[in-house]
Symmetry: C2
């Protein structure tokens, strides 16, 4: 698959915008969170699967880059790439796009862990889920390398220029 | 000042929780975004200041660490530390706490840029804002070093353990 996987699409809602009429920072992450829901649906951890297994994914850590402001009502899509996985974690890359546009308006690298909701505590993926993750990795092998991964925020002591 | 600066406090609202009754990942960032509002109020970029100057702050990049789940109705606070600043950017560290508790439930390192809303485009801080940032840095010099800064997400190719 060289086409991106669209895990969510919709329009920017009024309650997601700030006093400037732009998508507020937290709501970029909400839209990516909806993308994670789409990813979960794709690997069998949809609502029915979660109900049956008592398993889910928890976000451990994420990084966000805000590239461009997004206005109220804009039609947008989340593209999701499975970067890596082990026996109980996935590394995802979400990017936000105007519908049909390759340029990213924002991006997020994320680590999520598979949990049993009794606890909650981390637990290995089931064999069927691992097989789906492996298949997805193969299907996405042709995708281009994401732009915003492995990033670190540096907080240098910079001179104050009045 | 060795006491943390509480930039927001409140309770976890029903619309912020997911199907597990826990604060959803994006709403940790919303609460930190409210902390940024509190920070802006503290440096004179409150609603009146923004209206008068046409200036605001845009988030460029952030990192989030989710340490502990937070349940519906929990009373929480955001603590905010100004890590650094230059002539047009600030580096902030927000942490989320149960009211009165030092342990962080989540944390976010962020870079924000000062903009003029005509454009919008980046623009230097005014002298009065720079003076407030410098005073805040001095007041916070005694705070302990934040736990979750300078972090990078690594996505190794790990073996798949069924």
């Amino acid at each position: 698959m060289s086409e991106p996987w669209v895990t969510w699409e919709g329009r920017v809602l009024p309650e997601w915008t700030d006093y400037n009429g732009h998508l507020r920072d937290a709501y970029y992450l909400l839209v990516f969170s909806y993308g994670t829901d789409g990813f979960m649906d794709g690997i069998g951890l949809d609502a029915n699967g979660r109900e049956a297994s008592g398993h889910s994914l928890f976000t451990l850590e994420c990084h966000l880059n805000f590239v461009h402001e997004v206005k109220l009502g804009a039609p947008v899509q989340v593209h999701t790439q499975l970067l890596a996985h082990d026996h109980k974690r996935v590394w995802l890359y979400h990017s936000l796009h105007r519908a049909g546009d390759a340029e990213a308006l924002a991006a997020s690298e994320q680590v999520l862990v598979h949990v049993t909701l009794e606890g909650p505590k981390s637990t290995p993926f089931e064999t069927t889920t691992l097989a789906r993750l492996a298949t997805l990795r193969e299907r996405q092998a042709g995708l281009s390398s994401p732009r915003f991964i492995g990033r670190v925020i540096t907080a240098p002591e910079l001179p104050v220029n009045g």
